[in-house]
């Protein structure tokens, strides 16, 4: 059976007995060119790249990702620029999976069908839509699947057991577990043990799904969670870009350094 690039990335990480490392950066942050350069430079250490298409009214993002999003928008990023960045990235890193992440209104305005086709064309492997929950997302998820694009379902600590079962059953290969009640980038307010306990509930329903944990993961917390299939670091990286911009340093080098450190902690 042919594995999708995303599933293959998880398989390869598993072979190395480590979780897959997923990063989240905002397309166009801090400039279009730099965001592409960041993706290219970190791709060696990253298993899957999540790329955010920024929205100016994000209801689930914390301060750091908001700052990145506003910066990218201020620099004039448009949805077609996002696609262009992915296309260019995929040209040089063909096998590196890319997941687009954002808010539904932008997909709605672009047109669902057109959006998925465009994703397919530029080489997007998966889509996460923050504000299109289950079961409302079933139709869109189906459309994605038809084009062999992974639609990633989210599960949170508030998700009930029955709901969790339904979501896992209808999910594609990958599931995103939100570690805690928080917007992105909040401080981890529960123990890693607690997070892993919930994570295991999902795995128990179906161990074949690749389940990643995200929200609040930093250099400090990442190693405690390394028994998961994958770990997502977003706000910490966005924060690093902000810091670099403020200090007039090159965000590319700083982000590469950070990602290398993150990688070492999960080996």
């Amino acid at each position: 059976m042919n594995l999708s690039p995303i599933s293959l990335a998880f398989k390869n990480a598993k072979k190395e007995k480590r979780p897959a490392l997923l990063t989240y950066t905002v397309a166009g942050d801090n400039t279009k060119k730099k965001s592409l350069k960041i993706l290219e430079s970190i791709s060696k250490d990253v298993d899957i790249c999540e790329v955010g298409f920024p929205h100016n009214t994000p209801i689930a993002d914390g301060g750091q990702i908001q700052t990145s999003s506003y910066r990218a928008l201020k620099n004039g990023i448009k949805i077609n620029d996002v696609f262009h960045i992915v296309k260019k990235f995929k040209k040089s890193k063909k096998s590196k999976p890319v997941i687009l992440m954002g808010y539904y209104n932008m997909i709605l305005q672009y047109g669902e069908k057109k959006f998925i086709l465009k994703c397919k064309k530029v080489g997007v492997d998966g889509i996460i839509v923050v504000d299109l929950p289950y079961p409302e997302n079933k139709k869109f998820a189906k459309k994605c699947r038809k084009k062999s694009i992974e639609f990633v379902q989210l599960i949170s600590p508030t998700t009930s057991k029955t709901r969790m079962k339904k979501i896992v059953k209808d999910s594609h290969k990958m599931i995103y577990y939100i570690s805690m009640l928080s917007t992105t980038g909040g401080k981890l307010k529960i123990s890693s043990k607690e997070i892993l306990k919930n994570y295991k509930k999902i795995k128990k329903i179906n161990k074949n799904k690749n389940c990643v944990i995200g929200f609040g993961i930093t250099e400090k917390t990442i190693s405690e969670l390394k028994s998961a299939d994958g770990l997502v670091v977003g706000s910490a990286i966005c924060g690093e870009i902000t810091k670099s911009v403020n200090r007039r340093q090159n965000p590319v080098t700083n982000v590469v350094k950070m990602v290398k450190k993150l990688k070492r902690k999960i080996l």
Partner: protein, 410 residues
Amino acid sequence: MIKIKKKIPLIDQHDNNGFWGGKFGGNFIPETLKRPVEDLEVLFSKLRNSKNFLKERDKYFKNWVGSPTRFVKLDKLTNHLNGAQIWAKVVSDANGGAHKIYNATVHCLIAKKAGKKFIVGDTGAGYAGKMLSMAAKKFGLKCKIFMGAKDIKRQKPNCDAMKKNGAEIVPVYTGSQTLVDAVSECMRHWVSNCDTTHMCVGSTVGPNIFVKICGWSTSQISRELKIQLKYEFKKIPKKIKLINCVGGGSSAYGFWSEFIDYNKNHIELIGVEAGGPKKSKLHAAPLSKGASIGILHGAASYVCQNKEGQINETESVSAGLDYPGVSPMHCFLKDSKRARYTFATDEEALKAYKLVTKYEKLNPSLEPCHAFAEAIKIAPKLKNDTIIIVNSCGDAKKDRDILKERLGKI
């Protein structure tokens, strides 16, 4: 064309996915909020069918909010305009000075029943925040209010009131620093604290359940008006126009809800949005200026947005109307042609304020002044048997600084 059903409250005319007319509303929320929203749906549906809860609500509405608010004829303004009769439902009589008290009271009652100790809310003009802080104090809840930094500056009197009531005001510096950003920040706060905290959305916007709770609360206005109309005129007059400003649309819905089943030639519903400064391209009038359908704060509605789906900045002299989206129920009323929507510019609203306060002992805030502007525009063209009723839903005390700056007086 989408059709409104009769004899069913508009708040209940949505489908299983929470959409009015198949496309407005819904629940575009992060997974984390699914459960709290569903819990709230279950609780609210139980409470609204409980006689004890209704008794409790009515008790507080009567003794604390101060129901009914006055329904008065504006004789001098009517004489001056020399056309239709102009009446006002003086909702600003309510405790705190605006209709926001109904929603705030109900949300605090619900929060208590849900066993929550904290309540958070958004505010633009500051009335939603002020009322929530009042109700929170009354019911012993800890209260946090999210407010755009720009609004904090321009609506100081209401901020002072919030602080006096012991609420914490959280200034929001993102985006345009107005209501839209306050709502986003408030929702983000709820995402992080939904286990201990109840959220009150300040208008008939947001995820489906918040539209319903708010509409259910403000309906008090039209329940009172219906009785008052029968009392004043012996029966409901033959030609009525109910004019209300529309930002999120909570006061308009509350003012109209009992009258939606009537024929529009009998009772016309007119919503007036904020047209913004005359010379500016910016406005807050998604219904009357042809905005497209988009998603904002968890619901689909007509939204001021660009082609990419980014939410546009809005501009209005009235902070309470300065919002790029609008209630899905108003979108439904517009598309079904039951209500008519128009806008008034900043200048027209200010002019209306001058005229109304010149002739009447009434001090309407800049929000209802948008509605008065429309009344002043159409009244002279109508005959004396037409009854125009304006919902004077807020008091202008909070606009002290703006009025002083723009009109040179308090």
